[in-house]
Point group: C2
Chain length 567, copies 2
């Protein structure tokens, strides 16, 4: 049997676009002589559709799309993902389903059993879990079809009480097929490989795993669909961060050997565990990981703009490393001609900041504009003088400068129909070292899931062949330049220390005592964790962050704003 995998990039709620893409995939597979073509989870509407699923009309549109697509499933079988209505009175109104289309009909419907509801996932919000499990007979083969999370219930401490594959194995399937929408985070492809491998070693039949690709706002799907034979050997790994179509003849796969399980079939439940095994900061800044992150961010930017129907970006270029790296990635994603850098010096800006930011735009061949904020800042201070009187310069005036810049950037974005790229990093978002409506403004955050230490590693990677980012941007001490001689290190510890503490707390959920036990000062740890929790109100108003870790700020991390924990 010849099975094709179509690893495609969908657009949530854009039924016409998704339908045309799926039909294109079917026609390709037919032309290649496939018996069956497999598409990713919820490909009909795009993943995650979130509360659109609560609209009956949205579900009707899904059904109409299936009706149109099934006309193309004549002599070829087609497996697609879509929500399906629960016909029983009890339980939630929908299932997360996979359909087998053939002979221009729906031949079978499979429901997802394990509904992820952690981090960015909310599937229990919408879906009722499957309560029966059947293999599907198709052209003489028995297919064990599962949906994404259904194959992730592994390890000594499983998250769910049911393991769907165990149920399906009772019916002696010939092949496992998994339709997924499994998002990227660093190292996730290793976990995926080990899970698919573990299944084929354990059950002695091949698995074809079809993932989605492309970014949906903050969530980046990385593709990398997998095929393993029934012997634990990798047959093929499809492209990462790109669409890809491949055909596999499963009759050509090597037959299962009767040897015992391979010793390297250990798997990891999550990248959290992988990270724990390594030295933390080393893991974060490992060159291979940084390379993956770069590809993910470029895809994230590109898809955000194309799905929002925008083509041009602008950003505030401070002469610092965050805006420099953001600009490089934006130019890579959108084309240099579509990225404008706005330099907004004040009386506190150093000359080298303007020079460095200008040089970067010259190197990248991006348009850049210089707009001074000095007169505007003076105008604001003048109006506030009768009220502020002789109160000393403090964070108020620092924030006001950042907000003037936010206002200018948004005016440029409004006038020229661009999206403002945010340049904040994870270290400053964590500690609240940023100004709401100021440098925290923007439509999408490019680097908000990268600690400062990772941004240095990314800058190094960018410059590895040729100096694109001026050297002095990388070497100078980080500064917000909102008062004379300000340095980040006036308020925060060195980034190598800060980032380690943040990683322990945010990614690993360690307690203050556990972090202190690693050799950090009690007072410093308290101060940092207090800052993280105190600044939830700021992050709550922040734009979506391209997610590259397994614990990004945003929808995957939900903290009560009035909460008083560790404060």
């Amino acid at each position: 049997m010849k099975i094709a995998l179509a690893q495609q990039n969908y657009h949530i709620g854009n039924f016409e676009y998704n339908r045309n893409k799926i039909i294109e995939g079917i026609l390709w597979a037919k032309q290649k002589g496939a018996d069956l073509v497999v598409f990713p989870e919820l490909c009909i509407c795009g993943y995650p559709p979130r509360d659109f699923l609560e609209f009956n009309d949205f579900i009707n549109s899904c059904c109409s799309s299936i009706d149109e697509i099934k006309q193309f499933a004549d002599t070829i079988g087609v497996i697609i993902g879509a929500p399906s209505r629960n016909k029983q009175k009890e339980g939630k109104e929908l299932f997360n389903a996979a359909y087998l289309l053939y002979d221009k009909e729906i031949k079978a419907e499979i429901h997802k059993t394990l509904l992820p509801n952690y981090d960015i996932f909310d599937e229990n919000r919408y879906f009722e879990p499957a309560n029966e499990w059947n293999v599907i007979s198709f052209k003489g083969k028995k297919l064990a079809i599962t949906i994404c999370e259904d194959i992730w219930n592994m390890g000594d401490n499983p998250l769910y009480r049911i393991t769907p594959m165990e149920k399906l194995m009772l019916q002696q399937p010939d092949v496992m097929i998994n339709v997924s929408a499994s998002p990227f985070n660093v190292g996730q492809h290793i976990v995926r490989n080990s899970i698919v491998k573990a299944h084929t070693v354990k059950y002695k039949i091949p698995m074809l795993y079809c993932n989605a690709v492309g970014a949906q706002t903050e969530i980046i799907f990385d593709g990398g669909s997998l095929v393993y034979d029934g012997n634990g050997n990798k047959v093929f790994e499809m492209k990462y961060f790109e669409e890809d179509y491949q055909l596999f003849d499963i009759s050509q796969f090597s037959k299962p050997e009767t040897t015992t399980i391979n010793s390297d079939t250990t798997y990891f439940y999550s990248t959290k565990e992988i990270a724990i095994k390594g030295n933390r900061l080393d893991y974060l800044t490992n060159e291979k990981n940084i390379l993956e992150i770069r590809k993910a961010l470029v895809l994230g930017i590109r898809d955000y703009f194309s799905k929002m129907k925008f083509s041009t970006a602008l950003l505030g270029a401070s002469g610092g490393i965050d805006s420099a790296v953001t600009q490089v990635l934006a130019a890579e994603a959108l084309g240099k001609e579509n990225v404008s850098a706005i330099l907004m010096p004040s009386e506190f800006s150093t000359n080298h900041s303007v020079a460095d930011a200008t040089q970067l735009s010259i190197n990248l061949e991006c348009r850049h504009e210089i707009i001074s904020i000095t007169n505007i800042f003076d105008a604001i201070l003048k109006e506030l003088k009768p009220i502020f009187k002789d109160l000393p310069f403090d964070v108020t005036e620092e924030n006001a400068q950042a907000r003037i810049r936010g206002t200018i950037l948004m005016a440029m974005a409004n006038k020229f129909g661009s999206i403002l790229l945010n340049t904040s990093n994870k270290s400053e978002l964590a500690t609240g070292y940023g100004t709401l409506y100021g440098d925290m403004a923007g439509g999408i955050s490019v680097l908000g899931d990268l600690y400062k230490t990772q941004i240095y590693a990314l800058a190094k990677l960018i410059n590895s062949e040729k100096e694109i980012i001026p050297h002095s941007i990388i070497t100078k001490a980080p500064s917000a330049e909102l008062r004379h001689n300000q340095k980040d290190s006036d308020s925060l510890p060195e980034y190598s220390i800060l980032d380690t503490i943040l990683y322990e707390y945010i990614e690993l959920r360690k307690s203050p005592n556990e972090i202190i036990a690693q050799g950090f000062e009690n007072k410093l740890v308290s101060k940092i964790l207090n800052l993280v929790n105190h600044n939830e109100y700021k992050r709550n108003q922040f734009c979506p962050i391209l997610r590259v870790s397994n614990k990004s700020f945003g929808t995957g991390r939900r903290i009560p704003i009035v909460g008083k924990y560790l404060m």
Copy 2:
């Protein structure tokens, strides 16, 4: 048996505060001669604790609190709510539990079965559902203890497959006790009454229902704890929007009659269904409902400030109805001396705007300041002139004015340690008729869950005894005053029409065709729904909104930003 209910206001994550409050409640109940005192769901840590539950240290703190509290549960039984660790290998790591403390020990532990995961609720994210059900024997009585949602699985189309009370009834309990954290929305107390009543009619034993009170960021718990006898008669309804302590002797309750079920025991699963039964806008602006909303909002403001440890508020006073109503509620919640109104006229402001806003502050005896934005706006235009050249005045310049105001308000808030109150309403948040980082700025949104039509009704209520809000603020045509002679009605239909369409779409999830079928123009409906979906990116960066409806923007409504539905 004498059972006390302690309806208290907790602070999420503030273990010391919550513990002291619970101990205070125990001491009160002992002094009154109670055999048992009941506290609300998750009272140990406050509800909803959200991702704090993922921190092992947070769970340890919950356990320590229970240890301290149980010392006070000597001759009196104490039922408290707290997370509890799942000792089995399989499944999620926690249960949402209720503990019976007595003799200074944990005597029993009950797990919640039905985990709400819709709207603002995410309980499946953290908790494993109960898989056994036992009544608890205490001082000769058998208690059927359930937790909040456990009693809500009613109606012809139940959300869950299990009904915990059916399981518990097999063991012949004497009394039902429910510990809840059930949030306010309009009409919710009617639903609660009908559900508790339906249980006592059906099962012929009394029910004591203990709810939390107080706001946790956007979620407002309204109290109103209930006691019904085993005959479907209401024994007592505790205070709304206030803490309350009451003692009940269940041996004094009337004995169940053997008649058939009362005909008025129909219940409603949700206020959505109640609303559908009435005329929509009438229901929204019904005076009784508006009165409830007013109390909820005052509590919401007060608790947000006290839990964030702030005492003073400021707001931008435009002379319009939204800022006027916000100011009145803030003065009611925080005291007139703690609320400052900032008037920021521009060249487009009408004289009556400044006069009206000033008059309101005089009426309320609030401090007010006038800060003109004209010179600042000119300074910005001057800096942008070399880039904008002769491009016409458009939304860019309108937004820039709003953002200058945002910058001034935040400067005032920063300098004087106040929180900026946001004054946006639900109609404009829905349609995107507001400026991000401008009038959309603020720490908490007071009116963001009220349609404009409801704000008029609230203004009318406020003025019912005496004219607090100047009459002309209520009668003049709404305007953003960002260009000459601007009116809201230039861009939007009349609010009575707009709000009805919005309500049908947002609250009732109706399709365009269903809304058009009610007599609205096809083109208008398309335009409005397109605006709602298009502006998700703005609402995504909005502050928390005090929630008074059953579908507020914010955590209870999750829409993909790049989603293209109905656009």
